[in-house]
Symmetry: C2
Amino acid sequence: MTPGCNRPRPEGFCIWLTGLSGSGKSTTADAVAASLIRSARTVTVLDGDVVRTHISAGLGFSKEDRDANVRRIGFVASEIVRHRGVVICAAISPYRATREECRRMIGPDHFVEVFVDTPLAVCEQRDPKGLYARARRGDIPHFAGLDDPYEPPLHPDVSLDTTAHTAEDNARAVLFRLAEMGFAIDETAYALASSTR
Amino acid sequence: MTPGCNRPRPEGFCIWLTGLSGSGKSTTADAVAASLIRSARTVTVLDGDVVRTHISAGLGFSKEDRDANVRRIGFVASEIVRHRGVVICAAISPYRATREECRRMIGPDHFVEVFVDTPLAVCEQRDPKGLYARARRGDIPHFAGLDDPYEPPLHPDVSLDTTAHTAEDNARAVLFRLAEMGFAIDETAYALASSTR
C-alpha cells in the first residue's frame, strides 16, 4: 500500500469567519490554520488583505464594492472546496444575503459558518488598525457596526467568544464542530491547538 | 484497502492555453477538460468569461486592466494547484512577462504552457464573436495581434495547430505531453479523447 494512502481523500470544506472589524477573525483563522497545517492538511487563508491584493485591487469601499469583494472570496473558496481543499475565509461579510450567496456557491454541506461574536465596544477598544477612530472622525463611511449594519448570523455553526477564550481554545471549538459535522479532522490537530496555548 | 485509494493522491497542474482571440483556446480547453473529467479528475476551466463574471467584473480593456485580469486568473489557478487540483486556463495572455509571472505564482513544475498557434488570418476569418470586425472598425482599441502586440511563447511545452488537427487530436497531444512531464494521466483519458472524434 502506498504510504499515506490508507484512507479516502478527505472532503474539502470552507470555514467562513464573519464578525465586526477587530473581532478577531484573522487571529482565529491563523490558529485554526496552524492546527490543520500541522496535522498535514493544505490550508488557504483568504482574508481581506490577501483578496484585495490578488483579486480585488481597484475595488473601493462602497456597499457594492465591498459586496463584490465578499462574493469574490466566495468564488475562490468554492474553487478550492471543489478540488477538495480546505479554505478559511476571514471577512466581515456584514450582510446575511451575501453570506447565503457564498454558502450556496460553495455548497451548503461544505460551508461552516463561524460567528466571531465580539461586542462592538470591545472591537472598538482594540481597534488594531485604527479604523474605528477613522470611521468616528468620518473618514470611513459605511463602516459595519457604526453607520452601516452588521447582520449577525441567525444560526451559525459555531459562535466564538474572544473575550473569555484564547484563540487556541476557539480554534479547538471550530475543529470539534468540523468533526461533529463529519469532516475528517486528525486528532493531532486538537492536541496542537492546545499545545500552542 | 479503501477503493480508489491504491495510489498517491495525484499532483495538481495548470494547463495554460495562450493564443490570439479566435485561435481555439476555449475549444481546446473543453476537449482536454472532457477527457480528464471522464477519467475521473475534477477540472476547472477558467476562461475570460468565467473570470470576468466572478472576479473581474468592472475591469475594462486597457492594457493594465487586461493584465490584471490575467494575473487574477493566475492567482485562482495557483490556489487550485496548491490544493492538488487541475485547472485549465484559456486566456489570450498576450504578454510574455505576465505569463511568466503566472508561471512563477503557480509553480514552474506545475505549469504547462500550451501555445494555440493559429495564424492571425485564420483567427480573423473565424471571428466567432465578431471582435476582429469591431476592432478593425476601431471599436476595440489595443486588440492583441492588430494594434497591440501578441508575444508568442518562445519555448511552449506544446504547440497546437488548429487548422490541420481536430480539437480531440490536440487534446490528446496535450495529455501525452502532461504524461511525459510526469503527471498522472489515466489511459482512459486518451481513449476518450479519440473516441469523441
